[in-house]
């Protein structure tokens, strides 16, 4: 207790700075008084008595110092003193302070925000109990990346036989939008079809109402019940608890809302938040692909599981792989993939594709580069300033400050700068998170506290680490020499040191910018998009099947729509199709050459799509060989197909596909054309083989064949033309529902949000690195030129012309910067091979990536040298000379 009490008293004394000076003085006076009296009693004369008393007392100042140290906490008091000096110092140099703080703040703030985004998309665990044991049980194709899904009977088989899971559930969370009639009108939202035990497997509790009962998922089509997502309920149903129990139309079928999902649950596929859940027994209402979505003929079912106690992912993998092999043997004709992947439920589809894993590495490296650039620039600024402060520090040393004390003073300054940078950085991070949230409305994005904390720690570390070097260096100098040097115009060793510093700073910036440029360039190459402008293509969904048209009437209607659209002003071409161009071609069926009698289980699997005449003209995709479908290809004519290059190369590696016959599923068709493979996202991804069959030649026995996704190419912006297009179609028959109007571009954005996110991040990082390097270089150069004010004044006073002096300063400055750039480019070229495994489509010596940074830096350098040089020359020489 007592030591604590003592420390409290000492702390209070230090903080309030209330040292009891009167008491100290009194004690000294009393002591000396008593001693003097004692001496007098010994018979000394009064002056001598007092002198002896003072002598006996010893050093008065040492006594006071000792006493005061005991009163308070000296270390704390010195620290507070250092802080006061540092604050004064920071106020005196607002330019430097602003540059250093801004560099740190921008570096940390934006990096934290973007890393939070990456975390939210890729890494955040599901908000469910014991999320680490919830896994995706995916089916894969070994020769092609990506999950392919199971059929519902496959799922039932797994559920019955898998031993590694306490529970398995099925879902399809990535369906095309469901149209939900809300009080504010129909809305297209992402919905999921799930088995009744989906929510119980995840161990969630409903916000309101209840989840599905097992019985509600038993009889196909009987129980039309739905659960709404919390955000959807909040924004579209005004958070009204009365919604539970009412009827809401989904895809024109009345559903009873039985519950609301908990607030932070958005489904299990990251980046694709579900707003509605319906049981698998109601799958047919939502399925765009299959008439009997629960049959073995249809895929698209995803399986999730909760690992049984003491079961590892590897054990589960072996278990499921064995079961999938059994399925494959039992149903060789089914398009079941031959691989299995069991992985934790987190992350987005991009991660599911092994081929895209480099993207994550790319992002991590880019974020690291930004932090390096920021740190390098702050270090440069601090070093430059440390050099300038030699004289001040020399004076402090000369009048008795200890080296340790000086280093502490400098460190306190650095830490204060770092804290200021960190606090400003947090503010920027919050602000940037808001901006990013607007860009990614579907991502549950908030600044991740852990990331912000790490950022703050890095700021502190950067401040201290970069502060220590100049502190040590500056306090080593002999005070007398340092003072003399500082007052001379430009000490030779000092200017070499400072100029060397700028060379290094420029070189490091060029190296880092070059690396960043290469990363951005490879990303662009990796994801260069479809190769045409998807914003020029409008898509509407037409469903005559919903209004009970006869086949004749429906087909006539579809034909009328195309004819009417193609004469509409601004419309260049129109074509019906079975699905939007941005979707993966479905269903996948075996394709074989006629006469191939090998085991169908090993047949080549190809995606299929139904498209009308002029479909590829509508998209803007070139026909490589042969022709498109046209009006000759009717129901009565020969069955025709167009294949993409991947498929053509597989069967006819030497070309000449056009005119050949091929069997796609049950149909024997003649190839009339070859088109380029559509690559929407990644150039790394091997494009799937696709056979395009003629929309007008499809089997009309199926009522849903009447429906189409009609693609329309317009001259201007598709979104702007949509209302007019919809009016024109409605004029043909107002009864047919027109739904999901949108541009192909918007569809791609929704489908490949992850890619867009990654691109935004990389471009932000690139711009950020460039911005930080710019600030850093400007500050360092302006500083260096301002240092030469005195020298410039002397030259002018001695009669040099302004042009001469200006040229001298400029040439010198640019020479230094050029040296740095040469060194940086050399470093970049030699470091390139280390990056090679991260690069795609660019060589490590890509000239554009390497030169872009230096060009900007040279412009910045020119400005950074000219402005302060002009200011220095405009100053009167007298004032400049006296200013030191």
């Amino acid at each position: 207790m007592t030591p604590l009490r003592r420390w409290l008293i000492r702390l209070t004394t230090s903080i309030t700075r209330r040292h009891d000076e009167t008491r100290l003085r009194e004690e000294i006076d009393d002591y000396i008084g008593f001693e003097t009296e004692a001496n007098l009693r010994r018979g000394l004369r009064s002056a001598e008595a007092r002198r002896r008393a003072l002598l006996a007392f010893g050093s008065m100042e040492a006594f006071k110092e000792n006493y005061r140290d005991q009163e308070g906490v000296p270390a704390l008091e010195h620290l507070l003193q250092d802080a006061r000096i540092a604050i004064r110092r920071i106020r005196q140099t607002p330019g430097f302070t602003a540059a250093a703080t801004a560099t740190l703040a921008l570096g940390l703030g934006l990096t934290s925000a973007v890393m939070s985004l990456a975390y939210s998309i890729f890494l955040r665990p599901l908000p469910v109990a014991d999320a680490a044991r919830v896994v995706f049980v995916e089916r894969t194709q070994v020769d092609r990346p990506g999950g392919w899904g199971y059929s519902y009977p496959d799922y039932l088989y797994l559920q019955e036989h898998a031993r590694s899971f306490s529970e398995l559930a099925a879902h399809n969370s990535t369906m095309p939008p469901l149209i939900v009639a809300t009080p504010g009108g129909p809305v297209g939202v992402s919905g999921a079809v799930v088995t009744a035990n989906y929510f119980t497997l995840l161990r969630l509790t409903p916000q309101a109402g209840r989840f599905f009962s097992a019985d509600e998922d038993r009889v196909p089509g009987r129980d039309a019940v739905a659960i709404l997502g919390y955000d959807f309920w909040r924004t579209k149903f005004a958070e009204d608890p009365q919604v539970v129990g009412t009827t809401v139309r989904i895809n024109n079928t009345p559903f009873t809302v039985i519950g609301i999902a908990p607030a932070h649950f958005h489904g299990i596929v990251g980046g694709l938040p579900n707003a509605v859940w319906i049981p698998t027994a109601m799958y047919s209402v939502a399925s765009p692909y299959c008439d009997a979505p629960l049959s073995r003929a249809c895929g698209g079912i995803g399986v999730i599981g909760r690992l049984a106690r003491d079961t590892s992912i590897d054990q589960a993998h072996a278990d499921v792989a064995g079961l999938v092999r059994q399925l494959k043997e039992a149903y060789p004709e089914a398009s079941l993939g031959n691989g299995v992947l069991v992985r934790p439920v987190r992350g987005i589809r991009m991660l599911e594709q092994a081929a895209n894993a480099p993207v994550v590495a790319l992002l991590a490296v880019a974020a690291g580069l930004v932090l390096l650039v920021a740190s390098a620039n702050v270090a440069g600024l601090l070093l430059a300033r440390g050099l300038r402060r030699r004289k001040e520090l020399a004076i402090r040393l000369a009048i008795g400050a200890s080296r340790g004390r000086l280093i502490r003073l400098l460190l306190v300054e650095c830490v204060m700068l770092a804290v200021a940078g960190g606090v400003a950085g947090l503010q920027i991070a919050l602000w940037a998170t808001d901006v990013l949230r607007a860009y990614f409305p579907n991502v549950d994005l908030s600044l991740e506290p852990r990331i912000a904390l790490i950022g703050f720690g890095v700021a502190l570390f950067a401040g201290v680490a970069t502060g220590i070097a100049p502190a040590l260096q500056c306090t080593q100098a002999d005070p007398a020499l340092a003072m003399k040097e500082a007052s001379s115009a430009a000490g030779r060793p000092r200017s070499i040191m400072r100029e060397g510093l700028i060379v290094v700073q420029v070189a490091v910036s060029v190296l880092l910018l070059g690396a960043g440029g290469l990363l951005v360039r490879s990303f662009v190459m990796l994801h260069r998009g479809p190769g045409f402008d998807p914003d020029r293509v409008a898509i509407v969904r037409l469903r005559p099947s919903l209004v009970g048209f006869t086949n004749e009437r429906a087909w006539a209607y579809q034909r009328d729509v195309i004819e009417r659209l193609e004469v509409l002003p601004g419309v260049l071409a129109a074509s019906p199709a079975s699905a939007p161009a941005s979707w993966r071609a479905q269903p996948v069926t075996p394709a074989r050459l006629p006469g191939d009698l090998s085991d169908p289980a090993h047949a080549y699997q190809v995606g299929t799509a139904l498209v009308g005449p002029r479909y590829f003209t509508t998209l803007g995709v070139g026909v490589v060989d042969g022709r498109e479908f046209d009006d000759r290809d009717t129901m009565d004519g020969a069955r025709v197909a167009i294949v993409n290059e991947t498929l053509a190369r597989h069967f006819w590696p030497n070309g000449g596909a056009v005119g050949r016959a091929i069997t796609v599923g049950p149909d024997r068709v003649a190839v009339v054309g070859v088109v380029k493979a559509l690559q929407w996202t990644s150039a790394l991804q091997h494009p799937d083989p696709v056979a395009y069959l003629n929309f007008w030649q499809q089997d009309r026995g199926n009522r849903f064949a009447q429906d189409s996704r009609t693609h329309i190419r317009v001259a201007g912006d598709a979104a702007a033309q949509l209302p007019e297009i919809q009016r024109a179609i409605a004029a043909i028959d107002p009864d047919v529902p027109i739904s999901e109007p949108g541009s192909l571009g918007a569809g791609l954005d929704a489908e490949f949000k992850d890619v867009r996110a990654a691109r935004t991040m990389l471009v932000t990082f690139g711009a950020l690195s460039l911005g930080l390097s710019t600030i850093g270089l400007y500050a360092a150069l302006a500083f260096a030129v301002a240092e030469r004010t005195r020298e410039i004044a002397i030259r002018l006073a001695l009669g040099a012309s302004r042009a001469d002096v200006g040229g001298l300063v400029f040439r010198r400055g640019m020479a230094i910067v050029s040296l740095g750039i040469i060194a940086g480019v050399a470093a970049c070229v030699s470091a390139g091979p280390f990056l090679a495994h991260l690069l795609y489509g660019v060589t490590p010596r890509d000239p554009l990536a390497i030169t872009a940074g230096p060009v900007v830096l040279i412009v910045v350098a020119a400005v950074a040298i000219s402005l302060p040089a002009r200011r220095a020359m405009n100053q009167s020489p007298i004032i400049a000379l006296r200013a030191e």
Binding site: T2, P3, R5, R6, I9, R10, R23, E26, E27, I28, D30, Y31, G33, F34, E35, E37, A56, F57, G58, S59, A62, F63, N66, Y67, D69, Q70, E71
Partner: protein, 115 residues
Amino acid sequence: MKKATDVHRGTLALMVLKTLDVLGPLHGYGLARRIEQISGESLTLNPGTLYPLLLRLEQEGAIASERGPSENNRSARFYRLTRAGRKQLEAETRAWEQTTAQIARFFAVKAEDLP
């Protein structure tokens, strides 16, 4: 003569507490002289050692101080033992006695005494 700073760490505080316990309130100068006197002039206590110690003991609550009139019409700060200080003194006295008793046995021991 030995300087008080040379004596075993902590013993000076014990001396101060014991002196105040025996003689009642004293001012700093008087305390210094008394301690020297009790030690048989084998210690000198200078103010640079004494006053920070008094301050520390007061911060710890073992002693308290207030100004009051001294002999020969001067005023001075008088230090007195508090209740907490008395307890501390008792505890430290016991500990000290134990330690010295233990050490004494070691000094007294001879090889032939041990089995």
